[in-house]
Symmetry: C2
Subunit: 228 residues, 2 copies
């Protein structure tokens, strides 16, 4: 009954009173890619439990972070959209914790794409204006970039894209981590392009994630960490 709040007059504590419970920020991550229905969220958040998702959505609605534009479907409110810098910042910090090689089934292309978008914005912006339509192993999402900012949504692009890129998930993660580049992937046939090839190459160059210090070599590891 007595909702567990920190009761501190502090911005961080107040934010965590709303966002701090398990799964909450991950729900918002999914909704940041576009509106979704209850069952969409369930399938993208493996392990969450149906009751918990319902409870979180209700709480987020009450907090003014999420709303229901139509009867079936949840979306971020403007207040929820304002969370993006914070989620980006956390994601960039967490990126360095991830192992070099993802465990099978733990990767979703949009998650990597979100990270790359955040990274791009943090390092001076995309630099070019473009709309790119991705198909990564059948998963569709699209990016709208301008000089400083980039926006990422799932689903197919609702407008005509400048470039269309199709590849499988391993290729995409290889592109993301810089283990390969666009030119090479195209040459090997792993990446299929339609439209302005140079635009995509330009973007992917800015898209690259920073190298990670390998955690397994850190003192005190493993503690209670990762099991991807």
């Amino acid at each position: 009954m007595t909702a567990r709040t920190y009761g501190q007059y502090c911005g961080l504590a107040a934010a965590l009173d709303v966002l701090g419970e398990r799964w909450t920020m991950l729900i918002l991550r999914e909704l940041a890619l576009g509106p979704k229905r209850y069952s969409d969220l369930l399938e993208r958040l493996p392990g969450i439990g149906t009751n918990l998702l319902a409870a979180r959505l209700k709480a987020l609605d009450a907090a003014g972070v999420v709303h229901r534009p139509d009867a079936a479907g949840y979306a971020l409110t403007p207040r929820g959209e304002q969370l993006r810098p914070a989620l980006d910042s956390l994601a960039r910090w967490g990126w360095e914790l991830l192992p070099d090689q993802p465990k099978a089934g733990s990767v979703r292309a949009p998650w990597a794409a979100m990270l790359m978008r955040a990274q791009m914005e943090a390092s001076g912006g995309p630099g070019v204006a473009a709309i790119v339509d991705f198909d990564v192993g059948g998963e569709r999402f699209w990016l709208r970039a301008d000089a400083e900012r980039a926006d990422l949504r799932d689903g197919p692009a609702p407008v005509r894209a400048d470039v269309t890129a199709r590849c499988d998930l391993p290729t995409f993660t290889a592109l993301a981590t810089g283990r390969t580049d666009a030119r090479e992937a195209i040459r090997s046939g792993a990446l299929e392009i339609e439209g302005d090839r140079r635009l995509l190459e330009q973007l992917l160059r800015r898209f690259r994630l920073p190298a990670r210090t390998n955690l397994s070599s850190m003192p005190g590891f493993p503690g209670r960490m990762r099991n991807l």
Copy 2:
């Protein structure tokens, strides 16, 4: 035994695997103000419970976020310091959730000061270089500002400050929220200054927090929210 992780190859999920449990980010907030001992943390985190604090510190140590420079005392590692932008971002988002009037006992001057520092950095930087020593109701902390960034630590300034400011907590929150300004507070005697008065006035102008939309007037309020 099986530490509850999300198991997603996603920066945000990885960050939350380390930071997502209750109290963790608030511990880091405290350590971001400077190294502290176990009992210092206990007293600044009312309600945390001794076992939980010990467990969190152990986990954060294992994760490479916190370390113990000397036998009794915890501090952020460089990796922990890198969390500042993320904590700042969350704090700025959460600021707008706070009620205009804090409940008695729920305010700590450094929390407001942290928020002001984050706000200052986000809106173009302090603009001036200065070291300011604060004494707010007996609580000491100091700010080192340059054109773009600002650093805030608790305790008295270890170097000679350009300005020394002394006031009580209500005056400080009034300054923070813009309900009063430095000139007025000095004139009324609520704020005592030693040193370069104009420097402080300049800083405090950049220090002001944005106005908040009053939550209580929002649809769906109260849901499960604040009880400060």
